[in-house]
């Protein structure tokens, strides 16, 4: 009996050891002439719609880079490829998959997940293993206050989302012969990390102009009714109404602003586009101001895709069923371009050299300028503000990029 147990024990040990060896980093980062990037992103669950937009963006970026001859490192052309895992829109799963990508699959170059929450779960792990990650879908300001060294983000951070609307309100007040400090602001923000970041940016700007917040409501996560807040708006008649609560906040607000005939001259909200409020509520949405990371009408351009308009055309030709190209896809493509640029400047696959190359990024793309601050967020690209005018989204601020004049007061 003892012999057979010993044998079994040895066998188990052997199998386990073999398993460990097989599971160890098989240096899958570069296979032959292919550089492998990894991403855990949401294909199912509550972020699935935008997760899939982002995946399409990543894939288009890879396709374009490969068509243009790939990435040149040490005189050799490498193709790009991405390994995906579905994080089911849950941060816990994202964190597990990050470990898996790094430890089991040996991935050394990461692309970000979708949403701030999942990115927040992933960043500590990439820091732990010192693996650089370029992300395009996590805008929360708190990602860039932790001193992360391996995290780079191509988008504008969340505190800038509605700040431009405050500047615009101040501009309009001046034009009407009033002081900017006379502007009264009503705010309704969801009680989640993203919207509270947006709120923090707004609060800074309010202070700058000396404006007063007359309403400051925080909406719970599953609130489907805003009529109490809007009743207050009716009574207090603010000059500017700000709303941020992802798509559900935008839909709820747009429905009830219409039903309660709210007459505020300026209304700004995030997620107008992803909530499809123009299609749902028609003319009643005219005059809403909507911040966006990117618009196809901007005159940005870069080497890989040409202008923003060219990217728009290529994306629509590549993927069926898109009437508008979501900015979530555009910024994902931009993240792939950042990787290509970093590989070519570093001329190496060493993660430390790549990290330094990423930190020194300074490029122009169809998505706008990309230059990272010390904290890792992109400081070369502003948020732009679009207004719904006759059912179309037109860029109205900042004035450098504006294609149309702002309608004030809102009709």
């Amino acid at each position: 009996m003892s012999i057979s147990t010993k044998f079994l024990r040895a066998l188990t040990f052997g199998v386990a050891a073999a398993g460990l060896l097989a599971a160890g980093p098989a240096s899958a980062k570069v296979e032959g002439d292919t550089i492998i990037l990894g991403s855990a992103i949401s294909f199912t669950g509550k972020y699935s719609t935008n997760g899939i937009h982002a995946k399409n963006g990543y894939n288009l970026g890879v396709k374009r880079v490969n068509e243009m001859g790939g990435v040149m490192v040490g005189g050799k052309a490498y193709k790009l490829k991405i390994i995906y895992y579905d994080d089911e829109s849950t941060p816990l799963r994202t964190a597990q998959l990050a470990e898996r990508l790094i430890k089991q699959d040996g991935i050394k170059f990461l692309l970000g997940p979708y949403s701030s929450a999942t990115t927040k779960a992933m960043a500590p792990i990439t820091e732990k293993y010192k693996i650089p990650m370029v992300e395009a879908e996590g805008a929360s300001r708190s990602l860039f206050t932790q001193g992360y060294k391996y995290l780079f983000c191509v988008i504008s951070t969340s505190e800038q989302y509605l700040a431009s609307s405050i500047a615009l309100a101040a501009e309009i007040a001046k034009k009407n012969g009033k002081k900017p400090s006379s502007v009264r602001v009503a705010m309704a923000f969801e009680n989640d990390p993203f919207s509270l970041d947006v709120r923090a940016g707004v609060m800074d700007d309010l202070k700058k102009f000396g404006m007063k917040a007359v309403i400051d409501d925080k909406l719970p996560r599953d609130l489907s009714d805003m009529s109490a807040t809007l009743t207050k708006v009716k009574a207090l008649k603010p000059d500017l109404l700000l709303i941020s609560g992802h798509s559900k906040g935008a839909v709820t607000a747009a429905r009830q602003i219409k039903e309660m005939k709210i007459k505020t001259p300026m209304i700004a909200m995030t997620h107008c586009e992803s909530a499809k409020i123009i299609k749902k509520f028609g003319d009643s949405t005219n005059g809403y101001l909507c911040p966006t990371q990117w618009a196809e009408t901007l005159n940005y351009s870069g080497a890989a895709f040409g202008t923003a308009g060219d990217y728009d055309k290529l994306f629509k030709a590549t993927y069926d069923g898109y009437k508008n190209v979501p900015y979530q896809a555009a910024q994902a493509s931009a993240a792939v371009l950042v990787w290509k640029d970093a590989f070519e400047r570093a001329q190496s696959f060493d993660t430390e050299k790549l990290r330094d190359a990423l930190a020194a990024t300074n490029m122009k793309t169809f998505y706008g300028g990309i230059k990272f601050s010390k904290a890792g967020n992109n400081i070369a690209k502003p948020m732009v503000l679009r207004q719904i005018q006759n059912g179309k989204l037109n860029v109205v601020a900042p004035s450098k990029w504006a294609s149309h004049k702002v309608d004030w007061p809102r009709k």
């Binding site: 199912t44 669950g45 509550k46 972020y47 699935s48 719609t49 309704a188 009680n191 400051d216 409501d217 925080k218 909406l219 719970p220 599953d222 609130l223 489907s224 009714d225 805003m226 009529s227 109490a228 807040t229 009743t231 207050k232 009716k234 009574a235 207090l236 798509s247 559900k248 839909v251 709820t252 429905r255 219409k258 039903e259 309660m260 005939k261 007459k263 992803s274 909530a275 499809k276 749902k280 509520f281 069923g321």
Partner: protein, 335 residues
């Protein structure tokens, strides 16, 4: 907070807006809560999937109200179910099967939601509820909680996580110089909720089936002895509850918004109302429902929106504590 209170005093007309909005939405809460009270009272099953039934009804009304190209090029949602993909493939091969589903006004979607949900409720009873009905409370709670998760995930798979609304396209009326606005759809939904409640009550009072349900609720064994097929009564009651939820959901989709994961908030509201009113107390359910609607809006106004739903849960705790105190007075020491 004091600012908000003084605002209510300074502009008293705002009270009318808050009261009206509270009553409009409270009537729908009361409807769903009545269904819960029915199942709870008759079968002693506490249905945690109540809110998800409501959301499901909302999705039926919404889905009927949009233009959908059936089977081919479905833009609004992605059916990931295998059987649908199988149909999809077979019908793309035979293009004449492709057709455009006409958009039906969500008010007419309501009866469809009622019928579909009645069938769904019966199916759920046979497959799940009938197996847990005699078991202890924990088993039925667990089963219905699981059901709630499955329903919300399936809705998410079928229609995606976006928030949806069914548009009635009705006018909005203004009173007091625009300070009070009443969307016609809200008024209509109040009337519809009242009508539905009246129908269910009449049915329970006067029809043979209604009598049998009440008899079963009083004493299932005695009812069985009298020749009532209690199994069928249970199935019917559960299906009736699902149908009521379907109607409530169709109304919710027209005045609020629906999303696959919003069910839980509606479940909690139903529980608060039933706990406050007590089982078998229909006027109590109606008053508690309307009261909860008004309380939510007032607390949203006075304390800010972040505490609007806290009120619902806070009220539940307050009611339970109060009940406990009330009962302890009647408690007799056991000799």
């Amino acid at each position: 907070m004091m600012d908000n209170l003084s605002l209510l005093v300074q502009v008293p007309v705002l009270n009318i807006q808050l009261l009206l909005d509270g009553i409009f939405v409270g009537s729908i809460f009361a409807l769903a809560a009545y269904g819960l009270a029915l199942v709870w009272g008759v079968m002693n099953v506490k249905n945690l999937a109540q809110g998800d039934f409501v959301i499901m009804g909302g999705y039926i009304a919404w889905w009927l109200s949009i233009d959908v190209n059936i089977w081919i090029g479905m833009p609004a949602f992605n059916f990931d179910f295998l059987w649908i993909s199988a149909l999809h493939i077979s019908t793309t091969a035979i293009p004449f099967l492709e057709f455009m589903k006409p958009a039906i006004h969500p008010i007419f979607g309501l009866p469809v939601a009622v019928v579909v949900m009645f069938g769904f409720g019966w199916f759920i009873y046979i497959t799940i509820i009938s197996r847990v009905i005699g078991k202890d409370m924990f088993t039925s709670l667990l089963a219905t909680f699981g059901l709630a998760l499955v329903i919300s995930q399936l809705l998410n798979l079928a229609f995606g996580p976006e928030v949806q609304v069914a548009e009635s396209g009705f006018e909005v009326n203004s009173f007091f110089d625009g300070m009070v606005t009443v969307a016609n759809i809200r008024f209509i939904s109040l009337i519809l909720a009242g009508l539905l409640a009246a129908m269910v009550i009449t049915f329970m009072k006067f029809s043979r089936m209604g009598q049998a349900i009440r008899a079963t609720a009083q004493d299932p064994r005695a009812a069985k002895v009298m020749g009532i097929d209690t199994e069928r009564i249970y199935a019917f009651t559960f299906a009736l509850n699902a149908a009521i939820c379907g109607a409530a959901g169709a109304l919710i989709s027209m005045i609020w918004v629906i999303q696959p994961f919003f069910g839980i908030a509606h479940s909690i509201r139903s529980f608060v109302i039933v706990t406050a009113a007590g089982l078998g107390n229909l006027p109590g359910v109606i008053i508690a429902g309307l009261g909860l609607g008004v309380a939510e809006l007032y607390s949203g106004f006075v304390f800010g929106a972040e505490l609007q739903q806290f009120t619902v849960v806070g009220l539940l705790v307050a009611i339970l504590v109060w009940r406990q105190i009330q009962q302890s007075r009647h408690r007799q020491p056991v000799q």
